[in-house]
């Protein structure tokens, strides 16, 4: 009885979360006429890939995906690399001092990205980086570093200090200790952090909109938001939903690729020495 109730609750949460996806996918698969028909049909009567085709053929959607992959991917790599070094140094400081510093990191993480749009834009303008991939990569890295450092420091702390000391006595240099001992042992946490950073960058809108104003540099969220019909009165719902459905694909692929480590990272907190 209790179990049934439990599963009912889980199922409703599941449905609640997945309904938007379901709606996007089914709308994407409807031909133009069916999208606006009333009463609403929950399952397309005729499945058509028209919208998907249009998104790529009539719009530079492929270009948007590429832009997103470059910025999100670049920012993820840069964030993880920077956060690894910072977290490693923090760990060496000992918990008390590390926490004192980390509190300030948290302040950085609290600021909403929208608040930073104008200052960041001005900086990038000064550096002549507007419309340059580097602008978004640097901005995303800065935004994600506090979170990533927090995650990785928590992960590195799980490893016994004697491990570093043993490595030091064996003749490892500090950078070798990080790359050959600490990082390989923190793979699950690295995977989780990387995925979360990647998803944040992939979905980010306001900075992408302002730092990359030319259409050839739109990222996927910007591109979707600015999809327009033949006139201001026509909203191409079918294409928008096709784009939305497609957008989730790379994220799902990334998660699938790192699944083993993500589960490890979420379940097993500690790696025993």
């Amino acid at each position: 009885m209790k179990k049934t109730l439990f599963y009912c609750v889980i199922a409703s949460i599941f449905l609640y979360c997945l309904f938007p996806f379901f709606w996007a996918i089914q709308t994407a698969l409807k031909p133009a006429g069916e999208v606006f028909r009333l009463p609403v049909s929950y399952f397309p009567e005729t499945i058509s890939l028209e919208n998907v085709k249009d998104v790529f053929a009539k719009r530079p959607f492929g270009r948007y995906v590429l832009n997103s992959l470059i910025t999100a991917g670049g920012a993820t790599i840069l964030t993880i690399a920077g956060a690894s070094v910072l977290a490693f140094r923090l760990r060496a400081l000992g918990l008390r001092r590390a926490m004192r510093i980390q509190r300030w990191f948290l302040v950085g993480a609290i600021l909403p990205p929208a608040l930073l749009v104008i200052p960041v834009f001005m900086v990038m303008k000064q550096l002549s980086l507007v419309n340059n991939y580097l602008a978004l990569i640097l901005a995303y890295t800065a935004l994600n570093l506090p979170f990533a450092v927090w995650m990785l420091h928590a992960a590195f702390r799980q490893l016994p200090r004697e491990l570093d000391e043993a490595a030091l006595m064996d003749g490892f240099s500090p950078s070798a200790i990080l790359c050959r001992i600490i990082l390989p042992l923190s793979r699950p946490s690295l995977a989780v952090t990387a995925v979360l950073v990647f998803i944040f960058c992939w979905n980010e809108f306001i900075l992408a909109l302002s730092l990359m104003p030319s259409q050839s540099k739109y990222t996927v969220p910007v591109g979707i938001a600015l999809l327009s019909g033949a006139s201001v009165y026509e909203i191409p719902w079918g294409e928008i939903n096709a784009a939305v459905a497609l957008t989730t694909v790379p994220v799902i692929l990334v998660i699938a690729a790192l699944q083993r480590w993500i589960i490890e990272g979420l379940t097993a907190g500690a790696v025993k020495g």
């Binding site: 491990l163 006595m169 001992i181």
Partner: protein
Amino acid sequence: MADVELRGIRKSYLEGAVAALRDIHLKIPDGVFSSILGPSGCGKTTLLRIVAGLERPDAGEILIGGRPANHIPPPERNVAMVFQNYALYPHKRVYENIAIGLRLRRTPQERIREKVEGVSNMLNIETLMDRYPKQLSGGQQQRVALARALVREPGVFLLDEPLSNLDAQVRDATRSELKKLFRGIRATVLYVTHDQTEAMMMSDYLVVMDGGAIRQAGEPTHIYADPTHRFVAEFIGAHRINAVPGRLENGRFRSADGAIVFDTRVSKTSNVLMEIRPENLVHESQEQIMLQGEAVLVEPMGPSNLVSVKVRENELKMLLASRPILGAPLRFSFSSRHAFFFDAQSGRRLYPDLEA
């Protein structure tokens, strides 16, 4: 192999608020197995870490093999350390764990193979080479950690409580093996432990530490027979030494409750603790000082029983082959030469007068 000398080592933590080591002078000759013994927090591990180079002393000099080592980085100090929790690399196989130190020192591949094989045969772990540390038992992990130190053939071995994570049975076996092993290669060893049995049984040279200072150093049997400080007397010995508060006056000891009175050759006048080991209290009246009490507790230990005897206000423990009846009067005796006197204030030993 190499000797180790420490001159005036000081170390404190939290900007001097906590003193970990106060003016440590110590000389461990080449090829000597020495133990650093003390309760937790006495600074023994800090001392080891300073020799290893994992920590810097605030003051003082470290000499390894006669060479000042203060500014030599750890991997070049000619020392190898075995950590309490072994600190094996979990993501590397046993072979790699042992070999990596040599690899980083650019030893030729062939030499590495030879040396790793030699060491693993010595420690009987040659069949475990392809396993990962977590697939090993505690005892096996410990051997791998030892192998990792041995393979480097350092001048000095530093061992930080290497047996404390093992089961009691494995520990006993490993203790004997370690002693044989290090004796066999005539290694200089600094062995940190809080277990006095371990320290007594294994070492040629024993250093007893308390509160960041060395209380006494010397041969284990000598320290057992002739402790210079109350702390040492109470810390060393399989069974805790009996302590009876009292007063020395005109060469005569009188316990605070007046029940134990005997003549001594210590002429100082002072409030003291008279301490005597349980193994020096004997049944019946074989020795000159006789006492009578009442058995209040019997702790059987197999070959003998640890018996607590109440003598007026003091409870003394003694070893008896037979099992006394609780509450029955018990006569026992001891010789005054086995009684140690320690100043009640300073804890220092009060010695018999020389000429007497």
